[in-house]
């Protein structure tokens, strides 16, 4: 159900969910991995726009004395199939095309976009965005050179080329397997989605990048009934890998997990609420990092002095075995990008290095502010939005402890297995994440399943309370979407088994 009041809400809080002067040389240029090659100016650039036209539009964007401008072309095609009551009776397909024009002057940004790619419309958008600057200085544009991109996923792959019949067969197969798995399953919903996104960025300081970003996701949701009582559960897989992702093994895992998480709920209880030790299981528990530290380390919040981490760089924040990274380079991960949405190459950024706060997540504006190189975190939802610092794949590196050892260390607490969503207050540092499945820990052993409780903590406080980290890092295969200032972007997260000495767990009084 939609609630139209939500989009109107001002909300600096960021959330995560499954199922947002004068000269250009002042800016740190994006780091390029390999020597760029200069294109023939007479040739057409990607999206069929002549190079000369690109320069003309950039000229208008820079015409009022801006520091920097970029054009972001995007074409995205996507399809989604839904199966309910044994029928694929609903599909959504969309195709989107446009260009965003950004003009930067100091810390200020002018932005406009056009859904029509003719020269006149693009120049109109550029003139609108240029209004952020108020001078008339003529700026000399740098010659454009196309960057060579790294390869973290197959940029030549198109989901559009996969026969729709195969996608249908996959969805029906998941439905059959879930129903066959357990006689108590009374409803299954299966969602399949894929998209092919093509982006082309060209900047006033001469950077050009062209990428294709494939994405797919498969979700199984079940309802089971036993003695008149019903429970529900789900599992999902998401990736930039090609359609072969869905082999017999992964499809069976999806169905097994969706069914297990559903029928497990018949045994599950709501725990007694309060402060207690919490063991975060390997994989999806990376949601804690995303909320407790990731958002607070996005440099736009720190540049404005409104993050709880604004004074923490170089300071010890956690035990020496705690290293936390945000990484664009994981093979086929949903959060991986070859290049960010303002021309900085995909890279690995260390947030916490051996317990010490190491680096913020930067876009070009914040990198200039701090006098450092951009970290490749400048991302945007689409050509309709300005880029800002966003996470990619956020995870904790392996630690010295063992999974069993960590559970044994807890006398009375909870073990977290899966989550649905989380949120954080950037300045206060209070963050939450919602547990869907987990277990009570009693005398060092997992006992009764638990369900549907919110966990709440404070970012820096939680970091200092991470007392054990196992050697079993798992990057979660689920499809996470991160929202910030009204823009959604795909991300990944991962975690080894971790013990947090105390968190507040929701539950009965």
């Amino acid at each position: 159900m939609s609630h139209p009041f939500d989009p109107f809400r001002p909300d600096r809080r960021a959330f995560l969910g499954l199922a947002a002067a004068g000269t250009a040389s002042l800016f740190a240029r994006p780091v390029l991995a390999a020597a760029p090659h200069a294109p023939d100016p007479a040739a057409a650039a990607p999206f069929g726009i002549p190079m000369a036209d690109l320069q003309a539009v950039l000229g208008v964007a820079m015409g009022r004395g801006a520091d920097f401008a970029d054009l972001y072309f995007e074409r995205t095609r996507s399809v989604a199939l839904t199966l309910e009551d044994d029928k694929i009776s609903r599909a959504y397909a969309s195709s989107d095309l446009g260009v965003g024009v950004r003009v930067v002057k100091g810390d200020a940004v002018g932005y406009a976009f056009s859904e029509v790619l003719d020269l006149a419309a693009m120049k109109r958008a550029a003139a609108t965005a240029a209004a952020i600057a108020d001078g008339s200085t003529k700026v000399k544009l740098a010659p454009v050179a196309v960057a060579k991109l790294p390869q973290f996923y197959d940029r030549d792959y198109r989901f559009a080329d996969v026969d729709l019949g195969l996608k249908k067969k996959l969805v029906q197969d998941v439905n059959e397997r879930c129903k066959k798995k357990d006689a108590r399953i009374v409803k299954t919903t299966v969602n399949y989605a894929d998209s092919d996104r093509e982006v082309f960025l060209v900047t006033s300081d001469g950077v050009a990048c062209h990428d294709h970003q494939p994405m797919t996701r498969l979700v199984a949701m079940c309802v089971a009934e036993e003695k008149g009582r019903r429970e529900t559960g789900m599992y999902n897989i998401a990736s930039r890998h090609n359609f072969d992702l869905y082999d017999a093994k992964s499809v069976q895992r999806l169905c097994d997990e969706a069914v297990r998480r559903t029928v497990l709920m018949f045994e599950a209880v709501t725990p007694k609420g309060g402060e207690m030790p919490v063991v975060l299981g390997a994989g999806p528990s990376g949601i804690l990092l995303h909320e407790a530290i990731g958002h607070g380390m996005e440099a736009d919040f720190n540049r404005k002095n409104i993050s709880i981490f604004a004074t923490k760089i170089g300071k010890p924040v956690a035990e020496k075995f705690v290293t936390i990274v945000d990484d664009a380079t994981l093979k086929d991960a949903r959060g991986s990008i070859h290049v960010d949405d303002e021309g900085s190459l995909g890279q690995r950024t260390v947030l916490v290095d051996g317990g010490t706060m190491n680096s913020y997540l930067h876009d070009r504006i914040s990198a200039k502010h701090y006098g450092v190189s951009p970290t490749g975190n400048g991302r945007r939802e689409s050509f309709r939005f300005v880029p800002m610092p966003r996470m990619r794949s956020t995870y904790m590196e392996r630690g010295p402890h063992k999974h069993e050892e960590i559970i044994r260390a807890v006398k009375k607490g909870i073990y977290c297995e899966s989550f649905s969503n989380g949120q954080v207050n950037i300045g206060g540092g209070d963050y939450t994440f919602f547990l869907k499945t987990g277990f009570l820990i009693e005398d060092g052993k997992l006992t009764r399943p638990i369900k549907d409780v919110n966990l709440i903590g404070n970012g820096p406080d939680t970091l200092s309370k991470i007392s054990m980290v196992a050697d079993d890092l798992v990057i979660d295969e689920g499809g996470w979407t991160c929202g910030k200032n009204g823009q959604s972007v795909p991300v990944s997260q991962g975690m080894p088994t971790v013990l947090v000495k105390a968190l507040t767990v929701g539950g009965g009084a």
């Binding site: 809080r13 404005k304 002095n305 949120q423 206060g428 409780v453 919110n454 539950g507």
Partner: protein, 443 residues
């Protein structure tokens, strides 16, 4: 087609009608075209300067196709004639490959609007606002937000939008609505050691006059941010909770999931079988009011083209209606209402907020929820809360990092009083609510 708002309704309606006609010609049995055109401007200021200026001019078409008993929806922003025809050909091809479903069809024509009966949601003065006026509104709010030396940052955002939505279908639906909206918000951050406590205020409406004085937006955000200084958690236990009107919509929005037709039909609703039965405190009456003058959710037709109607959702605590769109109503063999909320109005109580507060000997005022979620099947919910302690009927120390946990089936019976203060800056208009015996977890 040029994407120009000044061409207004007629072009949007004509184009939508043309899309339906073309889809039929290319082989669709039925088609419904939904075309949205909008132009919006956003002005964000910080430290006395413009930080972001964005102009968004956009048009998007979604066509719902019914081909040989099969259904799919297709969206594009490319409205050029030749491109549209190719788009529809592909869309019909894809739709044909799906499974047949006899329940998939357009709503019965008798339930639909055939002629556009427009609500007064458009402000005729819209065009008179220029970029300087927008900047000054935002700056006035931002400056009022920097009223105290403990404040480290204030940001204000003013945005306005002029949009047209046209809906045409092969069963005769032919309707359009033009509407404007204005929004002003301020976010203020204070300093508290390493912490940067924050809060916000927001006003919005269909005309500029609905926003009141911009200074009060900044001032209220600042006052609230300053009260967050020193916030911490307190002991777990059962508490009296006063949920402030601005936060109450979030609590109710989780409950609404269980009223949704898809969840009901898919056996994912704890309200299955509860129609006509008491499900909340008898103090609660919730009505769907689509024609509310100036409402942020007002409409004369819904997404499927069904004429909007007022109805009771909860009446004196008794469940009267679900949100059933045409498709799920058919599957449930029931009468449709509508699939989505327009304006949902909670009948307010008689006590002012101050009087409600004065009646609480000891408890917590919830000013905002932090994350959390709800299970529409079981009714279990758990939400992070922040706000103030209440001691002897007065606001005391700030509270944060605590969780409210309960079950919707029982929690709404703990409601013992409603304020006379409905929150008007939302399409869910709720007053402040008092719950007795709520389970709150902290230290």
């Amino acid at each position: 087609m040029k994407k120009d708002m000044s061409q207004g309704h007629q072009n949007a309606l004509d184009l939508a009608a043309q899309v339906v006609e073309t889809a039929k010609k290319l082989g669709a049995g039925d088609a419904l075209a939904s075309l949205r055109m909008s132009r919006g401007i956003e002005t964000q200021v910080r430290e006395g300067k413009v930080e972001k200026l964005q102009e968004s001019q956009s048009a998007g078409l979604t066509v719902h196709l019914y081909v040989d008993g099969r259904y799919a929806a297709h969206t594009t922003s490319d409205l050029r004639k030749a491109e549209l025809e190719a788009f529809l050909k592909d869309a019909i091809g894809l739709t044909r490959m799906l499974d047949a479903d006899p329940e998939r069809c357009l709503p019965d024509a008798s339930l639909c609007l055939k002629k556009s009966a427009e609500l007064p949601l458009f402000d005729a003065k819209y065009g008179s606002l220029d970029s300087d006026a927008r900047k000054h509104l935002a700056l006035a709010a931002e400056e009022a937000g920097r009223s105290d030396r403990r404040i480290v940052s204030a940001t204000a955002n003013f945005s306005d939008e002029d949009g047209t939505w046209a809906l045409c279908a092969s069963n005769g639906i032919h309707a359009a609505q033009r509407s404007t909206s204005y929004h002003l918000s301020a976010e203020v951050t204070a300093t508290d050691g390493d912490k940067r406590p924050e809060d916000w205020w927001y006003v919005g409406g269909r005309s500029l006059a609905d926003l009141g004085k911009p200074e009060s937006v900044g001032r209220l955000a600042a006052e609230r941010a300053l009260t967050r200084i020193g916030a911490r958690k307190y002991a777990s236990g059962e508490q009296v909770l006063l949920v402030e009107n601005r936060a109450a919509g979030r609590l109710l929005s989780h409950y609404l999931q269980a009223l949704n037709g898809a969840n009901l039909q898919q056996k994912r609703s704890f309200l299955d079988g509860q129609l006509g039965k008491p499900v909340m405190s008898p103090l609660v009456t919730l009505r769907e009011e689509p024609h509310l003058a100036g409402g942020l959710g007002s409409r004369s037709f819904d997404r499927e083209g069904m004429a909007a109607q007022a109805f009771a959702v909860i009446e004196g605590g008794v469940l009267r209606n679900f949100y059933l769109d045409w498709y799920y109503a058919k599957k449930l063999k029931d009468k449709p209402t509508t699939g989505t909320t327009s304006n949902l109005i909670c009948t307010p109580g008689t006590a002012s907020f101050d009087k409600l507060l004065a009646g609480v000997e000891r408890g917590i005022l919830v000013t905002a929820f932090n994350g959390g979620n709800s299970n529409s099947l079981t009714g279990d919910f758990s939400l992070g809360i922040q706000g103030r302690l209440i001691e002897k009927g007065a606001l005391a120390a700030p509270v944060t990092e605590m969780n409210l946990t309960g079950n919707h089936k029982t929690f709404w019976n703990k409601l013992v009083a409603l304020g006379a203060d409905p929150y008007v800056f939302s399409s869910l208009r709720l007053p402040s609510l008092r719950f007795d015996g709520a389970a709150v977890a902290g230290s």
